[in-house]
Symmetry: C2
Amino acid sequence: MGKAVTINDVAREAGVSKTTAVFVLNNRPGFSAAEGTRIRVREAAQKLGYRRSGLARALSTGRIYTVGVVLRIDSGRPQDWVYSKDVLAAMARACHKARLRLTLIPFSSDAMLSVDDVADQRVDGLILVSHSADAFARQIYASGFPTVSIGSGYAERLVDIDQRGGVREATEHLLALGHTKIGYVLGSNPGIRAVEERRAGYMEAMQAAGLAPQCYTNHEAQACLTQAERPTAFVTYNDDFAWQLTVAARQVGLRIPDDLSVIGFDNTVLAETAVPPLTTIENPLDAQAERALKVLQCLLQGKESPTMAPLATRLIHRQSTAAPSGFSPQKEPKQ
Amino acid sequence: MGKAVTINDVAREAGVSKTTAVFVLNNRPGFSAAEGTRIRVREAAQKLGYRRSGLARALSTGRIYTVGVVLRIDSGRPQDWVYSKDVLAAMARACHKARLRLTLIPFSSDAMLSVDDVADQRVDGLILVSHSADAFARQIYASGFPTVSIGSGYAERLVDIDQRGGVREATEHLLALGHTKIGYVLGSNPGIRAVEERRAGYMEAMQAAGLAPQCYTNHEAQACLTQAERPTAFVTYNDDFAWQLTVAARQVGLRIPDDLSVIGFDNTVLAETAVPPLTTIENPLDAQAERALKVLQCLLQGKESPTMAPLATRLIHRQSTAAPSGFSPQKEPKQ
DNA sequence: GTGAAAGCGCTAACAC
DNA sequence: GTGTTAGCGCTTTCAC
């Protein structure tokens, strides 16, 4: 890269002091230099090819305007990734809006991340995506490094959505359609708060309706499809499971939604491209990302952030839900 | 954040000089301190909660061990994103392997990125993902900032795959199945090298077979499906177009692959989850990402990198291709 | 082997 | 308004 042109060089070239050069180049508010000076400084910078060093600035100010996003990169199936990538994209948009840079910090369980590796001043703070209470999550919070969790993750300082309400609404939708045998497909990672919350939402709705809840693992749900007493509808932990269920159903000759209704969660691209497109619960990722950033900013300024109500979800009606066969519904309440 | 503990503090606490402390903490090769000293320094660091500043180190060494990935964030449809996210994920894996950090630099056409914004020393170099010859790409290359392109992008210093060969192979596969009316769905962004190359691969295969090529836009391809003289098979610019074609085909009552064969490109998650799963051309993103990083490293060390042959693609056989109806194939040559 | 000192390029506090 | 100075925390060169 050759040697960098510094602000000193510019100042010298323009025949002014460093301060003046800095003020001009930074458009310091409330600073009115002689027009000639401004021009001279600008021209000098231009001519020399001066480029400010965000690095030196960061060292001096203590802020590098970059947030680190710590994300798992282990899982093999591309479908597992869809959601994480959506969270990342939402964080990217939020950072862009907030004029912050985003640094991706991959988290793989083989090479354990150390707090020192991460909290080395190249990021101002951290966003943990979908971390359970793993060693790293606990350590980083314990270290006091500004950190916020997002995406159905570790419960400490977590920006959360109304997981429970979302699944409750989905279950109620199925109930309203006339289903009585409604199963729930459990999330597979028990360390994560969303897994419990979503399940609880299902339980609540079933109990309120006086119906017996029936929980399945992903595998069990697919296996039970051929049995006579199978549920006529499923609420699933996420779109991936819902999508898998549609595949399994098609394989055993079940038609969706005629023979089986399915509702996913997250509204990932999987839900849009599935056949038929999936009714699902929208996960407001952009709002979460923006809120997470807001909380992080508070932390950076030393003030604890106000606690906020979980963000609302929304049921998106597509074509994977209908009344159970042989049932004429009393009229769909919503939408 | 309180005040940071510096190496000076550690040295003072341990009763040694800064140099010694640095040497111990950095495990400087070829430096053998007295065991007592080592321990004292380590304990002091531990006790004080010393954490090295990657920032200060970067300022001093001129390398921050971070690469910037410049990526479009404009497009609205989630399907448009799938491929970009895959490239990003591949870059993330490659960076992780190379022990480099990845900073995401969103590129949106509304707020034009300036070279100064980006080349501010918070990244050592840049990877441009799927950029056409837009103003930014030209400027950044002109500025001399270490930059490499990837992902069917701008032709300058581009790590490329054998686009042409991939599509040729796909077309030949359809030919071997007995298709004679094979259409091609064009990429929509004419500024990008891959758009031309892929089309050329199709043209070559058709001409070699003595068949008339027929190119369509995405929209045209979907529209022609109801016409009598429609192609019996399509090669498409990417999986998204292929997937859209399956949806359109289903809507007009065409069955895939019985009535229509379709081949995608990129092997994104769309190809796996489509109904039926799509035969497609695998895009070796991980290899591209690693190669891009290698080229960037060369640049950073001041040496121009050796030119390399485009990376090979591979046809992945799934269920969206078959012999045209009423035709008994002579035997499928591959796989 | 260990210590002292000079920067990296910027910001900010304080004189002029 | 403009210039001077002292750091930010690290690496590195050169004495001891």
